[in-house]
Symmetry: C2
Subunit: 281 residues, 2 copies
């Protein structure tokens, strides 16, 4: 099953994708919907009160804009660790984003004037279903509602100003997420999917999630020892090699460029970079 968050008369609403049309729920996004159903994504499919929107008329929004937690993995792909000249980490490297950092799957993204090192990172997003606390690796995937695509757009100059990545990872409305959430039962093995990022059609990243150092189940089990993963929380699993900061010479995003991020079987984002004075911004 595929879920999305779509525009409904100017308001975001979680919706179920029936190919020809979307069944629109009363919830403002998928995280709100999952919280209302204690993370039971299949129960969400059973709701009896809904509106319909034709697929052709649907504007797809960020699958989630209200996760209680966004937890991202850094340095989680063997080849990306090498290009960033880091050692292979013995533990998952975790950092946060904020809800306001998220944006829609096809939204233009403003290049802030204060950063000159705007970079891409295609990632697999994991949306938590049922709450997870102290779960084993074997149980962990039972707590996944589904998968989505995240582009962890990063501002390397800010990321490297201090020891902590956070400030380079949280610029407002710069992390697109979507366009759908594909439920776990429809994905054979999220730990082995092709991932691609292109800029103006030129392929920059081409990896597979099999290169992940910490799997999705390992990460959920690890984090759940620290605090409860709640329905609608978003994990972003890290990126393969090919980021702009790792290239020689380095290359960063400029206004006018089109950035496309895709994960096999999950979906694709397409975001135009715009200047702060652009009519699209």
């Amino acid at each position: 099953m595929r879920f999305a968050t779509i525009d409904f008369n100017g308001e975001p609403r979680a919706a179920i994708d029936f190919q020809s049309h979307y069944r629109v729920t009363p919830f403002g996004d998928l995280s709100q919907a999952l919280r209302a159903f204690d993370g039971d994504v299949m129960a969400l499919a059973d709701i009896t009160e809904f509106e319909s929107v034709e697929a052709a008329d649907a504007t797809l929004l960020a699958t989630t804009k209200t996760p209680n937690k966004i937890i991202c993995l850094g340095l989680n792909f063997t080849d990306h660790v090498a290009e960033m000249r880091h050692d292979r980490p013995p533990f998952p490297t975790l950092f946060a984003k904020y809800p306001l950092t998220l944006t829609d799957p096809f939204a233009p993204i403003i290049k802030p004037t204060i950063s000159n090192a705007m970079d891409w990172e295609v990632e697999i997003g994991v949306v938590i279903g049922k709450a997870a606390r102290n779960v084993s690796e074997a149980q962990a995937l039972d707590h996944v509602a589904g998968y989505t695509v995240v582009n962890d757009v990063s501002f390397r100059d800010y990321q490297n100003r201090t020891s902590q990545f956070l400030q380079g990872k949280i610029f407002e409305a710069t992390t697109p997420v979507g366009p759908h959430m594909v439920t776990r039962d429809e994905v054979d093995d999220a730990n082995d999917l092709a991932m691609t990022l292109s800029v103006d059609g030129e392929i920059m990243q081409q990896g597979r999630s099999s290169q992940m150092i910490f799997s999705i189940a390992e990460t959920i089990a690890y984090v759940s020892q620290i605090l409860t993963l709640e329905p609608g929380d978003l994990l972003s699993m890290g990126t393969p090699s090919g980021v702009g900061a790792g290239r020689d010479p380095q290359r960063f995003l400029q206004p006018g460029e089109l950035m496309e991020s895709s994960v096999e079987g999950i979906g694709a984002l397409a975001n135009r970079i715009v200047g702060p004075g652009s009519p699209m911004s």
Copy 2:
């Protein structure tokens, strides 16, 4: 004026402190109340529908449990930077916490079995009032609703597992916040307040917020260039020297110990450390 979040028939509610009694609002905590009034804390005082609770009967809860963002400063006190053997940073070092990490001002705090390096950090908490985006340092304090006390309890073993502090800063229900929020007009200069932390009555930290490298206004102005600070967001301004990890020999919190954190004119937290099997846990 002083605000708090108190227990009202088993539910948390934002409330106004009238010394003899609390005026109880319909909002679940101060962040929810501030969001409902676009951050106008004084408008919140004017609401006409409320319940009353006698001060003697009030149980004080975390001033906020639902901030959209918790942004913490690391290495922000000159003497703490020295004890942690870091260089004085040219930019604010920012990291996040999650709402689920927060707990009540007098709650017992469970020492997790997986960490053996549970440490204290008394801090000034800044609750954002009106939204702040690209504000100047001169305007920044107009966006502060008030101040509260935060103990940024940190798990040094997890904090140092990777380059990113996050996982050592987010253990569930380990960061007490409260017991009141004192509005900005009642605090002469939040950048010059005495701060104290004791364990079983022994003073461990005794500093002044005048030692902060980045002031509250500088921090708000800086972050507001990156993303909007929203009503009810919580900033935690960093800690002075005297943390357990900086002592020789190092000293970490053990079950049974009572940790008291106070900021002059703002308030004091008192939290007993308990083991995971404790009847209080």
